[in-house]
């Protein structure tokens, strides 16, 4: 656990340094594209001390000064499979964004969607030493959480206290300074495969960049795709990417569950490619321009040239009706959405007060998806686009950039994680001198 504290804290330290320098890059490593945004923080515009004004208002603190998207290489299912390729793709993105911004960035905050995220709910209860809830008490109750055995080869990516309860008074955001007898905390912990994270860290290091933070893209896209009341009341954000579909459930402005389905737009493309016998690039083009999931009568007569470059005239003049294309795409989309439904059911999404579902990500642009999703996921489904942030180029405002934009918001206003709190005094492995200093500070 100390290990985790230290690596995550080092990243937080990096983030602070980046803030001081005023420039930080945001990198979304996806299966189909790698997006890099460069943010400049021009002066801290503090709106409220007690966090009562949320992330929406907090957008004014930064400005996007560089953006670059490049085709992703060597990433499958949101996981890096070919390091060299991914590294050069990251270099392309970072270089283009740097060129646009005309500044050099050294710190990068990255997110990725794969590595099979798994959510855990943690709970702990301690009796307070005094009447007052102090910083140290909060740290103590966080440390008292019983960490489940999440298996070797996995690592904690997020661990956020989402709720504090003080003597049966639940729903506290910040219990510090209040009086009570016992303090209880609910925490959400997200673990991912360690090897994937390490690959990403290694790739970024080879690009001469310092990692200032790492986030799950489910979390990031939920942050930008959901509006504030949806985050507050309870909703699910479904980020349909190229290789994976990530699910995150938010309530009370905290993520309480995240998962990912290892299917996405690339699978639809490969279905089309296989079904029609065309190249992947061609299939992607057909999907983007003519794809859909709701067949109507006119689609039978709407013929699409699927072409080819074999030189065989007959083969190159093939065409299919749009209904046939929809017939190929729809089962795959249904499969993805049914899988998402199953995950949501497993997470107990039904018991939330509001069950808004927001579809975002590049694949959510398939025509007619909202109708199909309504049929499978329930009535409250809408298509989401990321928030507009300052200076974001028009080309980066589509739903495919939800996680990149969400990462911008997180970079500017990160939520408290476990490692942002001080370690409790009795757990500390540091020297006695530090402990003496702390005792002195506490008592004087």
């Amino acid at each position: 656990m100390t290990d985790l504290y230290q690596s995550q804290r080092a990243m937080r330290q990096m983030r602070r340094q980046a803030m001081q320098r005023g420039v930080v890059a945001v990198l979304d490593v996806g299966s189909s594209k790698i997006a890099c945004l460069i943010l400049r923080f021009d002066g801290a515009s503090v709106h409220s001390d007690d966090n009562s004004i949320g992330a929406l208002a907090g957008q004014s603190g930064f400005r996007v000064i560089g953006a670059k998207t490049t085709r992703s290489r060597g990433v499958q299912f949101g996981e890096i499979t070919a390091m060299q390729e991914t590294e050069s793709a990251i270099r392309t993105a970072v270089q283009g964004a740097q060129k646009m911004a005309a500044v050099r960035v050294d710190h990068v905050i990255a997110c990725f969607s794969g590595a099979s995220p798994r959510s855990y709910g943690l709970n702990a209860c301690v009796d307070l030493e005094g009447q007052l809830v102090t910083e140290n008490e909060v740290a103590r109750v966080l440390a008292a959480c019983e960490v489940p055995d999440y298996g070797s080869g996995r690592e904690v990516m997020h661990a956020q206290p989402i709720n504090f309860a003080l003597d049966n008074r639940s729903g506290l955001n910040d219990p510090r300074g209040q009086l009570g007898q016992s303090l209880e905390v609910d925490m959400h912990m997200l673990t991912v495969d360690a090897a994937t994270v390490q690959n990403l860290v290694h790739c970024i290091k080879r690009c001469d960049l310092e990692l200032a933070g790492i986030a799950s893209s489910a979390y990031a896209s939920g942050f930008s795709g959901l509006v504030e009341d949806e985050q507050e009341l309870g909703s699910a954000c479904i980020d349909m990417g190229g290789g994976t579909t990530s699910i995150s459930i938010f309530v009370k402005k905290h993520m309480i569950y995240a998962d990912s389905v290892r299917m996405g737009g690339d699978h639809i493309t490969s279905d089309i490619s296989m079904g029609l016998g065309v190249s992947t690039a061609n299939a992607e083009r057909i999907k983007t321009f003519c794809g859909g999931v709701q067949a109507t009568g006119v689609d039978d007569r709407d013929m699409i040239d699927i072409g080819g470059d074999t030189g065989d005239w007959e083969h190159d003049q093939r065409s299919v009706s749009r209904a046939e294309l929809i017939g190929i795409m729809r089962p795959r989309v249904e499969e993805i959405l049914e899988e998402v439904r199953a995950r949501l059911d497993a997470a107990g999404f039904d018991s939330l007060p509001s069950q808004q579902i927001v579809l975002t990500g590049g694949s959510s642009q398939i025509m007619g998806l909202d109708g199909l999703a309504t049929r499978i996921l329930g009535r409250q489904v809408r298509l989401g686009r990321p928030l507009r942030v300052h200076g974001l180029p028009q080309s980066a405002t589509g739903p495919g950039f939800a996680s990149a934009v969400g990462l911008c918001l997180l970079a500017a206003h990160p939520q408290d994680e476990w490692w942002d709190f001080e370690m409790p005094v009795d757990r500390q492995a540091t020297g006695s001198f530090r402990r003496a200093v702390r005792w002195f500070k506490d008592n004087w």
Binding site: S88, R91, T92, Q95, Q98, A102, D208
Partner: protein, 297 residues
């Protein structure tokens, strides 16, 4: 190995990888670093220029050649006819003083105006005794113009060194061979008289009613003035406010003909007690008269 082979083939066909190489990426990042940008923009050109100049100047021959050319160029500019001064004109000085000035300045015309040090010339001219102020400038047409104001003698000073002419500030103007050459100027005598010429001139102005009786003024003990009249009469003035004292004496003299009488000395040194010393003859006469009167009683 497939990927490698594929990449090599791609390179051959000319369809290049959009991704920058590590080196290119690093160079771009370097170029975006502010310090290096500044260094490249200013530091490298400055270094290059310095290095080129340094290598060129490292040889003694080249340095000498450069210096020589510089000196030559300078000389050729200085010797242009526009900058040459051909003559000197002196205004405001009598011929004798003019000769003195020419002697002091001692220039060989024609001379370049770059070689003339006008403030120094002016200082040298001002050192001459008869010159009160001097202005030196180069007039268009290559003429060195010297405008001189001469000192006007205001008094004759007789000292152990002989007769000298002083102006109103006490500055030495010229030697005087004979008093009769300047009969109109008042005569001063005594050590230190030249330092108080202004006071003496005030006394002269006050003593005008005395007319031709006035012989001169003597400085006594470098402290106070004596007015010397003919018939060996003297008016002893105090060191403090002598002008008023002389005015008193003259007033008394006009009313009561004090100085017409047989008085040797009028002593005004003590302000509250003016004293008159009679001449020896007068005293004896007075005694005789007293005796006559006394016997007569």
């Amino acid at each position: 190995m497939r990927a490698l082979i594929g990449r090599m083939q791609r390179a051959k066909t000319g369809k290049s990888d959009p991704a920058p190489s590590r080196l290119k990426y690093r160079i771009q990042r370097w170029m975006l670093t502010p310090g290096i940008r500044m260094g490249l923009r200013f530091g490298v050109p400055v270094c290059l220029v310095l290095a080129a100049g340094g290598t060129y100047m490292s040889s003694q021959e080249r340095r000498d050649m450069l210096m020589e050319r510089y000196v030559e160029l300078r000389h050729s500019i200085e010797q242009r006819p526009e900058f040459m001064v051909n003559a000197m004109a002196i205004d405001g000085a009598v011929p004798v003083v003019g000769e003195d000035i020419r002697e002091v300045v001692s220039l060989d015309f024609p001379i370049s105006s770059f070689d003339l040090d006008l403030p120094e010339l002016r200082a040298r001219i001002m050192e001459l005794d008869p010159v009160k102020t001097a202005e030196v400038r180069i007039r268009p047409g290559g003429i060195l113009q010297v405008d001189v104001t001469e000192r006007t003698p205001a008094a004759v000073w007789r000292s152990s060194a002989g007769l000298a002419l002083l102006d109103e500030t006490g500055a030495h103007v010229a030697e005087l061979g004979q008093r009769s050459l300047k009969p109109t100027l008042p005569l001063l005598a005594g050590e230190g008289a030249n330092d108080h010429v202004a006071e003496a001139l005030q006394l002269v102005a006050v003593a005008r009613p005395l007319g031709p009786r006035l012989r001169g003024f003597a400085r006594i003990g470098e402290r106070r003035w004596d007015v010397v009249l003919d018939r060996d009469q003297r008016i002893l003035l105090p060191s403090d406010r002598p002008v008023q004292a002389l005015e008193r004496v003259i007033a008394v003299s006009e009313v009561q003909d004090l100085l017409e009488r047989d008085v040797a000395v009028v002593d005004m040194r003590l302000n509250a007690r003016p004293t008159v010393r009679m001449s020896e003859d007068a005293v004896e006469n007075w005694w005789k008269i007293k005796e006559l009167n006394g016997s007569g009683q």
